[in-house]
Structure formats: C-alpha cells, structure tokens
Amino acid sequence: MDLLDLMKSSIRAPGRLVNLLTIDELKGIDVDTSGATIGALATLAEIADHPDLARMFPALALAAGHAATPQVRNVATIGGNILQRPRCWYFRMAQYPCLKKGGDTCFAMDGENKYHAIFENSLCAMVHPSNTAVALLALDAVVRTAGSGEIPIRKFFVTPDQDILRESALAEGELVTQLFIPATGARSHYLEFRERQSFDWALVSAAAAAELEGQTLNNARVVLGSVAPIPWRIDLGEIAATDEALDRAADEAVRGATPLAKNKYKVQLARTAIRRSLRELARATE
C-alpha cells in the first residue's frame, strides 16, 4: 500500500512487482512460552486482535491497533509497515528533490517542519512512520530474513547519517520472513498523541517496557515514535516507579532534543509520552 502511494506520487516507478501475498509461509502468528513469531505478512488487524499478543506484548497490539484506519489495518502487513518510506511531505512530492531522493538539500530544515524530527535531525529531519517499529524496538524483537538470517531490531533501522538513501539495514532484494519477540516477562505499554483521533499519524508515540520488582522498574526503556528518523530508544535501566523519578527521567531524556522552528511542542509531547507510558507500567504493578 505504501508502495502504491509512492508509485502514484511518481516517487518510485518499479519496472516489475513481485506479489508476496501468495507465499503462505510468510503468514500467521505463533505464540508459545519462548515468545511470539509473527509472519511478515501478518496484518496490523490480526496483530491488534490477537489475544496472546495483547496479553504478553500489549505494546505491539496497541501500536498496531492505533495505526491508520480499520480498512488500512485489514490489508497493511507488519513487514510493509516497518519498511515504509518517509512520510515527509517534501519526500512525497516530485518537485522537491531532497537529500533522501539523492538531491542536495533538506527542504524541511527551513520549511514546514511541524511534523518533523526533534532528535538526530541535522541532515534529514524525517520521522520514522511506523507504529509497530516503536513497539518492536521496545520489545527487543528480532527481524528474520531470507538472506542474512537474523537482524536484531536495534540494528535494523538506519539513520540518515549512516545511509541517507535507506531507512533499514535490509539489503536490496532481501526478504523479511518473520519477526520474533522473545518472552521476557516484561510489561509493556504503547500510547500516542495525535491531532485528530480518527485516521491520523502520531505527533509523538511511545512504547515502554520494563520488568518490575516491588516499586522499581528494572531494565526500563521507552521508545519514542515520530521524533527521529528511526524509532528513538531511551534506556533508563533501574528506576523508581514514582511520579518524581519518572518526571526526572522524562526531563533528562528530552534534554538533548534539537527541535526545528515549528516543532518545539514535540519536546513537551515527548516528555509527557515518556512519563505517561512508564507510569502506566507502574500502575500495572498495583
């Protein structure tokens, strides 16, 4: 579907398309005690509605359920979702030959950058568009491919500095077959803030995960979406589940933000998203 959009707006013109939907091996969701194995062709609707995923990996089910519209979720695959190209409006319009398209400038820098990145934005300020990527990174998923085998999700997304023309470490022609999420017993949660409640992209989203012990969150991490060219992971380690500690952590986490002219408000959203998503994990302890 993203591919079709890109073709319609003349950004890509592939000579030939290969239909993956006929490959049954890429479909289905399996959950057992070791974790969840999700076929690359599993749809966002299947993921959002899967009871075992909702129980063991709520961040992923919630992230999938928040994306797009019911119609889109029924056909959008998770493989395609994490491989979407930038939604940056300059990227999507042919008259703007920006860096990402091999040009020599980023139009967002001095342009309409309200929806752009506040971290890692010195070269290209696109935000990674995928909801599910945010949750998968928080859940330490592994991307299985038909080529190189396994890519830890932490190495899967590529910053503009690393490669301006790509957003993932996938080689040309390499196929994603599955996503695997290890069962660790960690709690997780996902939330997002948007302008409109129906059919909108997140202004900022957050997936939080942690194991917990008494009043302490261990191995706590929050991944922010829509704030950087990649899902933006913040590792907090061990943290007291008190409002005060969480607020301090949130303030600390956004300190390095480098907002552009029109997206300073995202810093406040990021702060709130971190605080609220972690607080939700703490709430679950009661």
């Binding site: 409006w89 008259q95 409640q197 406040q268």
Partner: protein
C-alpha cells in the same frame, strides 16, 4: 389582494401581523396551522438510490467512445511555462499546451491531455516534461503584505472602509479597551465528489453532465463560452456529491464541452484530490486586528476591525468582518478591509462566506471583554444583541449544555485534563425570493410529478419539494415524483446563499394549490386526464423578522500536557423559520457543526514558502474530522413562525457552520484559562498558549 392576520414569532414570543396576499393563492401557513406532513421527519425519497449506488453522479457517467481529459498543473507558486513535451504514448488523442503562460499558483493549468482511458491520460501527464522559469512568489499573507510585490498592481488591493457613529468617542466611554489579532486559515471545500464533468456533442447541441450547484447557471456560462445558443446546451446534475459553494462555475463543463466539439467524441474530466485541494476553491484565510471597548455594564461602546483576507492569486478575500454589523448593531464601529493577493488557488464562496472567520474574532473578543468587566459572557451578549429570537435561544442553549457548570474562574479545574464550555451566536439571511418556477403534473393514472431546475447538492431539496406538494395535495411524499437537476426543467435558482428551499418551496406550494383547483374543477367521477400547471415564486410579503438566528454551545476537554483538544458536546440552537423536513434539517445542522469543528481544530491548507506548492493536498495530511472526533450533537430546532412567504421558511444550509469554531475557541479558553487567537487550534498552539514550549 386579501388582507390576513398571521400569528408569527415563537413559543413565548408570539404576535400578530397583517399581510396582503393574492386572493387566489394558497393561504400562508402561520403558527396555528395544523399540518399533516410538513415539519415531520421524512427519509429522503431517493435514499434507496443513493445507498445502493443507483444514483448517478457526473463522476459515474460513461458514454460510448468517451475520451478522458487530464489537466497538467504547475508545481510552483509562480512560474512562466516554457516548452511542454508530452510523451507520445499510444492512446493519447489530443494535447493542448499553454506555453508562455504565467502561472500564479501551484495548481495553475499548464496543458491538457486527452486520451482513450483515464490511466493513459494520467500516465502521459506524469511523464510530461515542462520547462519552467521560476518567478518570485508569496504564499502567506504576511509575506505578501510585508514582502516585495509579486503581482502587477501590487500584492495589496485598495482598502475598503465602512463605519457608523463615532469610534473615538466610543473608546473614551469604555471602561476597558482591548486590542487583539485573530488569524484564520484557508480551508478547502473538500467535496467528496470532485468537479467532474462529461460532455457529448451531437447535431442538436451539447449535453453536459457535471457536478454543479447551478445547472442553469452552468448552461448560461457554457452557452457563452462556446458561443452557442441557449437551446443548444443542456446541463444535467441529477446528483451532486457536495458543493459548499465551490460548484457554481462551469469551468469543468465548459472545458469538456469545448474538447468534445473539437474531438467529435464525448469527453470526461475527473480532477483528482490534489487538484481539488489546490485549484478548486477554498475559504480565504484572514488576519483580523480588532480594537474594542466595553462599559462596566457590559455595553460595547466601540468596535474597530482592520482585516486582511486573501482569495489567492485572484484577489477577493471575502471581508471576514461581514457579520459584524448584523450580529451586534453596535452604535460606533469601523471596519477596514484589504484584500491581499498571494500565490495560492483562488478562493470560492464557501458555506457562509466570511462568517465563520468573522464570528471567530467577534465572539472571541466579546468573551474576553466580558471577563475584563467581570460579567457572564451570555449576559454581555444579551446586552448587545437585539434579536429577540437569539436572546431566547441563549437561554434554551444554556439550559441544554448546563451553562452553570462552566469552569469559574477559567482554567481552575485541577489536574491535566480540563473541561470548558463556550458559546457563540450566528446570523444569516436566507430569505430567498423569485424567480423560481415549478411545473406540476397529475398524470392520467393519478400519480403526481413536480419539476424544478434546481439541484440537490445533498441538502434534501428533492424530498422537501415532495413534502410541500404532499401537504397541499393531501397525499404522502412518496406519492410525488420529483425531477430536478436538469437545465431543461423550469427555472430553479443556483444553490447558494441558503436560498434554494425558500425560493423553490413557495413556488411548489403555488403549483400544488393550482393543481388541486384544477382537479376539483374536473369534478369527481370524471376519469381525469393529464393535468399540467405551473407555479411561480411570488414576491415576499411582510414577515416577522428578516434572517435566521442561531447560537451554539460547545463543551471541550483539553489535555494541558499534550495540548490535545476534544469536543465532547455541541448544543446547536437554530432557527430556519418553518421546519419542512425535520430529519434533513437536523442532519443539515449536524453537518454544519461537524464542518465547523473540523475548521476549528484540524483543517488547514499548508503552502510551502520555498516553492509555493500545497504540501497537504490529500486527505492524509489535510485533516478533516473523523468518527472519533465527532461529539455528541444536540440539535435544538428553534421553530419561528416567520411569514414572508406562504410556507414561512428560511434557509438553513449555511448558518449552522457559522458559530461553531468561535464556540469551540471560547470553550477552550474557558477550560485552560488562556486563549488561542489562531485557527486551527492544534496541540502546538495550545501548548504555546500555556507557555509549555
């Protein structure tokens, strides 16, 4: 002429007036009329056709041998067209180029390609190469006002000033004087059906199927554009997927008619969403600087507005201060308006032109003035608003929303989620008048048929015609067959100014009345042949009050840590004179409220200052409210017996979208204790107002 006494007004405020009406016409309905069909709820008589897809819109029309036209559009805000090269793809039949043209906005037409299929036409368009000489542009009003001239004759047009009383004296009398600047954005019409058209020439002339809100206006324009005679052009719009003011012009129809004549084949034009957003109309943006003074007792003593508006490259910014004079008849006021040209698509009339933007500024200021003199904003409105209808509506609405629950002082609720209630008043004309003609037929088999050259742009006029006819004839609306949307039918007005129903329906009553008389003349027992009569819209007679009154109350929830605003409830109190069909009246008001919330919170045309293109010319980034953004809407149909015509109705299409944005803005201010002066009210602005960024 006969002199009659009519009971007019509304519950709690009736009076009698004397009117003179023709002897042989129908007796005007008044507050005491007992009606069997009118004012009840009736599903659209053609609902099944719409729901099953049998209804045919211009977009659905296919003709044998039809060709498809695609317009190539300039991607830059201001550029001169050089060489245009369209690839020689099989199936391309015809190309027209505008080499040398100076394009004044991104979306201006550069060439047109006609091909065997839509896909080929689009493909050729995509692969066409055009040389442009890029010229300087200004896409925001600020740039156009302050920056260098882009348009010959200057970016700013001549100021127009109107005033009354003595504003300087008024300011002296004030206890509090405030100066504020309000800004509103460009909103595109976003009709679900684009400005589509199909034309087919034959020996007798041309038939044009087009998505228009004026079939007869389109016939005139096409006749003139193609230099034909009136009898040679027929325009059909049986169904129209929305217009909102953007579909009076015959540009699409004339384009395909011309091509059809040239190519000797039917031709279709189907603009895509990006073209609709960028080139097919918008509500012009505004900047309104308001200075106003209020006395301690709540009487406004002076009102000064300096406004700017931009109708895009074409001018015509639409005077956002328009509603000022007739919402509050202040004694001392002055308004100065300057139209500014920018490199954007041309504005077109949009549901109550000038009003939502004007009322946003006026009613925001009234609330702030009220707060400064420590008065309830409703009381301040009652002090300054002379409409007895609206004053009664204020009380009705306040009760329904629970006005006493509003946050006091503003923003005082504890916790990050804050609730607020705000309101705003609205006014509109919508009286209608002649000409409008109806042909009414009683067939030999006893069935009825009514014909009007008006068109239904979604308001339900087709069903309203059946309702009035059924009432007069003593049958059910479903017994009446209605033919509309064809320029060959008797004259019906364009659907604008909310005048279609108040112009057409008295003519329907007239025709039905005559038909009834003819049937009676034939006498009972007679087998009854076909009877045809015509009815015309008579001139207005005396009425209770001109114009319709309305007000809306909004309740919102604001998350002060994210700036997200949700509208929880809207109470919409609206007068439309006599209600004809309760069901469609309610849905018209709901639609107005939804469009108003969408304007208040989401919609905005974003033009890029670097190259001048519209960055969000789609439905993904041009945000229109969706199901989850839809609040509980409590419609209070405030019926007013108004006289003026034999049905006693006024228009309802435009007024219910006038006060919504202002009511939402006032509710947000009440919730958070800070005011947003610029629409749409998005999280960044809310957080900014709260000093959180």
């Amino acid at each position: 002429m006969a002199r009659l006494r009519l009971k007019v007004g509304f519950v709690g405020g009736y009076e009698e007036i004397e009117v003179d009406v023709p002897d042989d016409g129908p007796v005007p309905w008044d507050a005491d009329s007992k009606l069997a069909v009118v004012s009840k709820s009736h599903p659209r008589i053609n609902a099944a056709d719409i729901l099953t897809g049998r209804a045919r819109f211009a977009t659905d029309i296919k003709r044998r041998g039809m060709l498809y036209a695609k317009i190539l559009r300039c991607p830059y805000g201001h550029a001169k067209v050089g060489r245009v090269t369209v690839p020689d793809i099989a199936g391309v039949r015809h190309v027209e180029k505008k080499e040398g043209k100076e394009c004044f906005f991104a979306g201006d037409d550069v060439a047109i390609v006609v091909a065997d299929t839509q896909e080929i036409a689009e493909e050729a368009g995509r692969r066409a190469e055009v040389d442009y000489e890029i010229l300087p542009h200004a896409v925001t009003m600020e740039d156009a006002i302050e920056g260098p001239g882009v348009f010959r004759g200057g970016n700013r047009m001549r100021a127009q000033t109107r005033d009354e009383g003595d504003v300087d004296q008024g300011l002296k009398e004030a206890a509090v004087v405030l100066e504020r600047t309000y800004k509103t954005q460009a909103q595109t019409h976003s009709c679900l059906e684009p400005h589509s058209a199909v034309a087919e020439f034959n020996s007798g002339g041309v038939t044009v199927w087009t998505s228009t809100q004026s079939v007869q206006g389109n016939r005139e324009q096409i006749t003139e554009a193609l230099d034909l005679s009136a009898g040679q052009v027929r325009v059909i719009a049986e169904y129209v997927g929305g217009g909102f003011g953007s579909k009076f012009g015959a540009q699409s129809g004339a384009t395909v008619a011309e091509l059809s004549r040239k190519l000797d084949a039917p031709v279709k034009l189907l603009p895509d969403r990006a073209e609709e957003h960028a080139a097919n109309g918008n509500r012009p943006p505004s900047i309104q600087k308001v200075k106003a003074g209020i006395r301690k007792d709540g009487v406004v003593t002076a009102w000064i507005v300096d406004s700017y508006g931009s109708g895009g490259y074409a001018g015509g910014g639409g005077g956002p201060a328009n509603p000022l004079k007739y919402l509050y008849p202040f004694t001392n006021w002055r308004k100065t308006h300057v139209d500014v040209r920018i490199n954007g698509g041309a504005a077109l009339p949009f549901r109550a032109p000038g009003h939502p933007q004007g009322v946003f500024a006026i009613e925001s200021m009234i609330d702030e003035l009220a707060a400064r003199v420590g008065m309830d904003p409703l009381e301040v409105r009652k002090k300054n608003d002379t409409s007895p209808v609206r004053r009664a509506q204020f009380d009705a609405g306040a009760k329904r929303i629970g006005w006493s629950r509003r946050a006091q002082p503003t923003g005082s609720e504890q916790g990050p989620l804050k609730h607020g209630i705000g309101m705003a008043g609205a006014t509109w004309g919508g009286q209608g008048g002649p000409p409008a003609e109806i042909t009414a037929v009683r067939h030999a088999d006893g069935t009825f048929e009514f014909h009007s050259g008006a068109q239904d742009i979604g308001t339900g006029i087709r069903t309203a015609i059946a309702v009035i006819a059924a009432e007069e004839l003593g049958v059910r609306p479903a017994d009446i067959k209605v033919k509309i949307g064809d320029s060959d039918l008797p004259y019906g007005p364009g659907s604008g100014g909310s005048v279609t129903a108040p112009s057409v329906l008295p003519a329907v009553r007239e025709a039905a009345h005559k038909l009834k008389q003819e049937i009676a003349k034939q006498g009972a027992g007679a087998p009854g042949g076909k009877i045809t009569v015509t009815g015309s819209r008579p001139e207005d007679f005396r009425r209770y009050r001109g114009g319709v009154a309305g007000c809306q109350f909004a309740e919102v929830e604001v998350d002060t840590e994210t700036g997200m605003v949700r509208v929880l409830k809207v109470v919409a109190v609206q007068d439309c004179g006599r209600i004809v069909n309760r069901l469609t009246a309610e849905s018209q008001i709901q639609g107005g409220v939804l469009q108003g919330i969408s304007y208040a919170l989401f919609e905005e045309r974003v033009l890029d200052r670097q190259k001048g293109a519209m960055l969000n010319a789609d439905f993904l980034n041009y945000k229109i409210l969706g199901p989850r953004d839809t609040p509980d809407i409590d419609v209070v149909l405030f019926e007013v017996s108004n006289a003026g015509n034999t049905v006693g109705l006024l228009g309802l299409g435009e007024p219910p979208t006038v006060p919504t944005a202002a009511a939402v803005a006032n509710a947000v201010a009440n919730a958070i204790g800070a005011r947003i002066y610029e629409l749409p009210i998005t999280p960044d602005k809310v957080l900014g107002a709260l000093n959180k960024i």
